[in-house]
Symmetry: C2
């Protein structure tokens, strides 16, 4: 693998991030495009993904023959073994074999996995969860994702659908979640959950500087950071509520897995992770058994927005073994 | 291992069950004693455990030289690797090395593990969960235990403390649990949880035939079965509430693990498992994601009170490998 490069992609509902890693695992080139730049059909999205790879190769000046592998994530249920996107709530791909066209196009192995699973894998191999054996990850963004490293391996369960504890029900009579259930962690603690609370308060006539920033049901994390910095009262209520339920869910996952570490990643944690962690730590002891709590650490992810790209790289390296 | 015998024990807070398995995995002899028969000190309890093994050998007429191994469970946190009882809420054993005296006494390998973990292992190897790869077990008795088989192996997490999802919080404002938290699954759905509900209703002047059967905070499962058979209204309310929260917890565990099967064991399920399963099945689809639900089966345990003894046997066979 001397002098070779790995191309890693983070395919989301709105944008595709690309990065080229050199053999020292340094990112030497980056590119970002809108996922639906060419239209929102499956073919158009595949074309965007291909064009990101091609443009990165072109502009970085690396030789095509030096590319070792290409890896990507997608937000949804992914058959990681066969490279098939089984289901994505935010992209028009269903039972879609993306490996075959990608390998045909680039002539190197192509791997794909679930975005949050890979984010946690990235943190486990190269970030805040490095050196631990059992890892519970919470990724707090528009939604709430989970990922599990158990006995040192990414755990994917039956048909790669494990770790959806973002939809763990914490109050059967709680607010409606996008998934159709009530009182899921996501409905309280994700950007969607916090936005819903802020909109609800706005509809009662309460002012909040974050209310104006909610578009398409969510705010951007940088506006959350600003509103927190200015101690906007309604925002702080939404944050307290989010952290309360994150603490309960963390306690439940500590009791369930007895992990060595719980790691919190995603856009919200990248922006305001220290505050969230402080609030979670202030409560979590109440929600899990002291003997299990005593052997687990809680940490903010350290790779920021690159967690998933590093997870892609880990997936490539695992496949090489 | 020709013509050899394994001695398996189920050490509980009130009784020690013993069984001798022959080489065809048939139970050829059984014995039961009160755990605190000789007193409630650690030494006395160890003496009861030893006496169960000795008496079974004596009375069954098997030769001591034909004993292959002895295995046991205990209710608590067990260092399965080193044979140490780290902590048991209902027995006076703490950081207690039980392997050394047992191996010294009987001259064969001695293994010990957590009771519910071994119950689920027994069902996985020889019972209702046989042939599956990822198993979530709920054991409904005085308390509420859990056990996880992941990728075909018993999962024990950091320091053997995993699978305590009996203390998963389903309502942060719910009833107080013995563990000190509020709204745990155990506080709703175990015998203790159902008993608390029934006592609460009795204190409001409502009659229930099960109320008179509650001693030391619990009823015996056969009285639950009778009260259900006679459709005792308060009992049926307690059962509906227990099954509702068991369904929510099942949904949460399905989302978290994406198991192939969920298996329900323990004394309550042995007595009234069909009714409980029917009620859980009527609700569970609401509490997990349809795509994950579609690949999981829900089953009542098939080995009854012997789940744990078969789990001991599986632990011995795994150690032989």
């Amino acid at each position: 693998m001397a002098q070779s490069y790995n191309i890693c992609l983070d395919v989301g509902g709105t944008k595709v991030l690309g990065a080229i890693f050199d053999e020292n695992r340094e990112i030497i080139y980056r590119l970002k495009k809108k996922t639906t730049e060419g239209g929102s059909s499956t073919e158009n999205i595949e074309q965007v993904i291909i064009s990101v790879v091609e443009e990165m190769i072109d502009k970085s000046g690396i030789k095509k023959s030096k590319i070792h592998a290409v890896a990507s994530c997608a937000p949804g249920v992914i058959d990681q073994e066969n490279g098939i996107v089984l289901f994505t709530p935010n992209l028009p791909m269903r039972d879609y074999d993306i490996r075959t066209p990608m390998e045909k196009r680039f002539g190197v192995p192509f791997y794909i996995g679930n975005d949050v699973n890979l984010g946690v894998l990235g943190e486990y191999r190269f970030g805040a969860a490095k050196g631990y054996k059992n890892v519970v990850g919470f990724f707090v963004g528009t939604g709430m994702g989970g990922g599990l490293i158990l006995d040192g391996r990414l755990f994917t369960g039956n048909k790669f659908k494990a770790a959806e504890y973002g939809h763990m029900i914490l109050d059967p009579e709680g607010p409606l979640c996008g998934c159709g259930q009530r009182g899921c962690l996501e409905a309280f603690s994700s950007k969607k959950g916090m936005s819903a609370y802020i909109r609800q308060q706005a509809s009662r006539g309460r002012k909040s500087m974050l209310a104006d920033q909610v578009t398409d049901g969510v705010f951007r994390s940088k506006f959350l950071k600003q509103a927190i910095a200015e101690k906007d009262p309604v925002t702080m209520e939404a944050v307290d509520r989010a952290c309360h339920y994150l603490a309960v869910a963390t306690g439940n996952m500590i009791n369930t897995i007895s992990p060595d570490v719980v790691v919190y990643g995603g856009g919200v944690m990248e922006a305001v992770g220290d505050l969230f962690l402080k609030k979670i730590l202030a409560e979590v002891d109440r929600y899990c058994m002291p003997t299990i709590r005593s052997t687990v650490e809680l940490k903010v992810a350290s790779l920021g927005d690159d967690s998933v790209l590093y997870g892609d790289l880990a997936m490539i390296e695992d496949s090489d073994k």
